[in-house]
Subunit: 308 residues, 2 copies
DNA sequence: TTGTAAGCGTTATCAG
DNA sequence: CTGATAACGCTTACAA
């Protein structure tokens, strides 16, 4: 293994000088810096992170805690994770992956063993005791609130929007099965035969819904428009492709890391950021009315409504 | 921060004794062990992993490298990751998450900075230079081959099986769009109107396929059986639910960790394990013929064919 | 602008 | 069965 001392010897300088060149924490003459860098290159030197953590009491690691049972938001979680890792690497940090089955003890462990400098939580429960643990241990943390109150806030936003526009709105929850989708759709069309638009939150019912509409003779978007709240990937797998609202998962990840970097650099605590979702207009929406004009295709707009 | 010395003082023993109690690397009298454990509890002591890594030259970290562009096998990747983390924790290891965009340099970095003791690769390319890097650096590693030759081997297995059973087989590749699915299906039914079964590898075409069959008046499984190669979740979202073959993702993760543990404990290198996939019989398959009997529902069998 | 040296918290060797 | 004590490789005052 090659050490700081090896590099120092080869460059003909003191070990501390090498350290300072690498950290940039004090000015070094252009010439010696050059020599040090050359030695580093030549030896393929990488600082021992353990030693560094011990001496500096900073691990340069972020812990990302993901839900164990990942049935629900898998692609979203994955995208967040990728975003976190990519951004973190850009700041010289590595990312530790933890599952929430360690609970509070996991946070206590990584914090007090100096395994990580900060924690990113992704699946916040309503009574999450890990939040108390974070306050208690004083570890830097950021919470990504994809779940918390998401459905409720979305529904309220839609309600408000509909009210403001004088649109008649019905809310019919249903699970992801074909039968449930069929039942819900039948009920909606029976109660309001003139329904001109559907907003779908549960991406699982998209396939049955599309096929039900097709077999019942309703054309999309001519007879009924559809807006789906789902990943872009799902929206692009139907015919016609769905106008959709996406959770900006990658951005949630990168923003979380940025927040932490600022925070660990002495920034303010308690900051809350709301990230607006993006509406992508595709082929499943058209103006309502007897003579629908062609829908805009492929353009993007950003709505005023926000979710956390 | 509480240290070994704090624990030792409180327990009234030497620091080294505390270390030995924790590591179990030499025998300690029942009584002092008790006292040490009590002190550890009382102080909420967690060893500083950096110091430990420095002194022992083992980080107790596994690096898991996942593909950056995760469009294809997201749920599989996630399940592997969860499996790896869970199993690793059971052995006292933490898991570092890396993306493959660091390439070989990432492996070199975590290995020679002692950030991780071993590496798990998940998306092996045909000419993957990271394999050379692993050999070169000598870092312990295990490759999870979900991609490599997967499609080809699957196809060959199906071919062999069909040939052995005297079944007429056609292979029609198609991408995930509705149009492609429609085209492929139309062509198949035109060429072989009496087709009694479909094997679907591309989970993206499942929704269009089901809906096409329905609208064309073919009942599943009475007229045509379907076996899908997809995650259980996808198989359970259709009506009827699909008989499917699943990649045992969680097991891939846990087995990878077990392999590494054995290997780092002095086990043999170069070991290859083939993990058989599982066939889950659901509602989309029935015996072929003029008078189909009801299909078995929900039972599981394990086929002889294997994939890596 | 650079060098010297005192830690950082563990592990492991060597005595006892 | 237990205690001292010398590494481990780096950072960071403190000097020069």
């Amino acid at each position: 293994m090659t050490t700081l001392a090896d590099v120092a010897r080869r460059a003909g300088v003191a070990a501390s000088t090498v350290s300072y060149v690498l950290s940039g924490k004090r000015s070094v003459s252009e010439e010696t810096r050059e020599r040090v860098h050359r030695a580093v290159e030549a030896l393929g030197y990488h600082p021992h992170v353990g030693a560094r953590a011990l001496a500096s009491s900073r691990s340069n690691v972020l812990a990302l805690i993901v839900p164990l049972r990942s049935d629900m938001y898998v692609p979203v979680m994955m995208e967040i994770a990728i975003g976190v890792v990519t951004k973190a690497r850009g700041h010289g940090y590595d990312v530790l992956l933890l599952t929430n089955d360690e609970g509070s003890e996991g946070i206590r462990r990584v914090a007090s063993s100096a395994r990580a400098d900060a924690v990113i939580l992704t699946d916040i429960g309503m009574q999450d005791d890990r939040i108390a643990t974070i306050a208690q241990t004083g570890v830097d943390a950021v919470l990504i609130g994809v779940h918390i109150g998401f459905a409720e806030r979305t529904l309220r936003g839609i309600r408000d929007g509909a009210a403001g526009l004088g649109v008649d709105l019905v809310h019919r929850p249903c699970d992801g099965s074909y039968e449930a989708a069929a039942g819900a759709l039948a009920r909606i069309l029976e109660e309001r035969p003139h329904t001109t638009g559907l907003i779908v939150q549960n991406e699982g019912i998209i396939p049955p819904l599309m096929s039900l509409l097709r077999t019942s003779g309703r054309a999309v978007p001519e007879d009924v428009s559809i807006v789906a709240l789902c990943p872009d990937q799902d929206a692009e797998q139907t015919a016609p492709r769905l106008t959709s609202v996406t959770i900006p998962a990658a951005e949630l990840g990168t923003r979380a890391v940025e927040l932490l970097m600022r925070r660990m650099g002495g920034g303010a605590a308690g900051e809350v950021q709301l990230i607006p979702p993006t509406l992508t207009v595709r082929g499943s929406t058209a103006p309502a009315g007897p003579d629908p004009s062609p829908s805009p295709y492929g353009t993007r707009r950003t709505p005023r409504e926000q979710h956390q």
